[in-house]
Amino acid sequence: MKLYFKYMSVLLRSQMAYRASFILLSIGQFFVPFLAFISIVLFFQRFPSVVGWSLYQVALCYSVVHMAFAISECCVRGFDSFSSLIVNGDFDRILVRPRSTVLQVLGSKFEFTRVGRLTQSLVVLIYALINLDVQWSPYKLLTLLFMIISGVFIFSGIYILGATLCFWTVEGLEVVNILTDGGREMAQYPLNIYKDWMRKFFTFVIPFGTINYLPLMFIFDKTEGNSLVYMLIPLVGILFIIPCLMIWGFGVKQYQSTGS
């Protein structure tokens, strides 16, 4: 863990060396999702609600998902751009060091410019919290926190899966975008607006439902039965990382270097 923060501080300093470019990119990162959110607001000007969800409820959902996405994109960037490590042969260097591969790949890259995206989702979160008419309790705030943490783990798990794919092929990795960018776009709305098969896939295979629809029901008092279950559901999403790490371990064992 100490090593991880060491990696982080080194990379932070190296990115800060080009301060102007860093600030510009962060601002750009702020605007990309910002226009997407503006579009959602514009949609709600024309349509009163979407399957019973109001603008502010969607905004809350949106901010949680985008926040989780921003954090995981910042910290797990090493896995996202893993194909370059394989192609360059740098992964062989990582293998011979006496530290875990996961830690080293994690530490190989950080994208601190995602601070822009994070700020954007914080603004949306505050906007949603001010306008929402919800009785907040410590349990609900805790659930909200769980949702974000769990979201970070889910996105990280997908990045790790995508990186594992690189052990076999570095072509056509675009497909992983369906789960990362696609998952983000999809989970910014409560999942029950989608068709049944889509919702089931993104609840039971990729557990976006655990940070999205199910806990939101608890926050907006739409649940029936035991609310403790709904509160703890985001934590189930965290478990998603375990099979991902196992598959990664399997991939590392299978890996044959390209030689030279």
Binding site: L24, G28, F31, L35, I38, F43, F47, E171, E174, M198
Partner: protein, 267 residues
């Protein structure tokens, strides 16, 4: 004209080589298409008021957007061009007995065409097998289809002339990331990729009609869907040609200016 055509052919063949990437792209775009239509469906189901564009028409627009994505995306970039400018290899390009603007123009169009050729047919084919309201269907009549083809190609020329501006700006800034990002994001928004143009509030729509971006994607797609009538379509073709000539003219003048500043060192 001949060197441009052969360059164009070479590029198209090169693009067709990457089959796996194309399949991956098709799958991705297919997913996005389905997802967008589902979101629109959910919104449409929450109101009974008639909308300026019907859900079925919107589905056509979504599928065309997804299959011709490489035609209309401003951030679709050519890293080779950017490195040429920043590393100074541009000197070789300048030795060629060709006009640099036309040379790059041909190159960029070929790139987009080859990428789209592989992707658009499979996506549209599968989409035409889906149940309503997801189905992609044929245009209402032949004239509509012809107007669609004409506006689509003029739109492609238009998008490339806008992206030429981005490349020329790299002569001054030496990094394409910033201008690509800004142009890409705002261009996407004003082209109606995030929220369809007919669903925008009136004030915003008026601004969008004044800018060139929507004439490359929104216009041809909505003509195909039957949301834009023949008369409006013909007027819009005039607007497309106007924008195109203005942008190409400015681009040519600007690149001349930029090249005058270029200093080639050593060799």
């Amino acid at each position: 004209m001949k060197p441009y055509i052969s360059l164009f052919k070479m590029r198209v063949l090169k693009g067709l080589q990457y089959k796996t990437a194309a399949i991956a792209g098709i799958l991705t775009q297919f997913f996005w298409g389905i997802m967008y239509i589902m979101i629109f469906e959910a919104f449409y189901s929450s109101t009974t008021n008639p909308q300026p564009i019907s859900l079925v028409e919107l589905a056509q627009v979504v599928w065309l957007q997804q299959s011709f994505l490489v035609f209309i995306m401003l951030w679709f970039r050519d890293n080779e061009l950017i490195t040429q400018i920043t590393s100074g290899q541009i000197a070789y390009e300048l030795c060629r007995p060709m006009n640099l603007y036309s040379f790059w123009y041909a190159k960029l169009i070929a790139q987009r065409l080859s990428a789209a050729m592989l992707r658009c047919l499979p996506i549209l084919l599968v989409a035409s097998l889906l149940p309503e309201p997801y189905r992609f269907s044929l245009p209402p009549d032949l004239i509509t289809f012809l107007l669609f083809i004409v506006t689509l190609f003029l739109g492609l020329l238009l998008i490339v002339s806008i992206s030429m501006m981005i490349y020329i700006s790299i002569f001054y800034t030496m990094s394409g990331t910033g201008s690509l990002l800004i142009f890409g994001v705002f261009g996407e928004f004003f082209a109606g990729m995030l929220i369809p143009v007919p669903l925008m509030p009136d004030a915003l729509r008026r601004v969008v009609y004044l800018l060139p971006f929507r004439y490359a994607s929104d216009l041809p797609f909505r003509i195909y869907a039957g949301n834009i009538g023949t008369r409006e379509a013909i007027i819009s073709i005039g607007v497309q040609i106007l924008w195109l000539s203005v942008l190409v003219l400015i681009g040519r003048m600007w690149i001349k200016n930029a090249l005058r500043r270029v200093v080639i060192q050593g060799g």
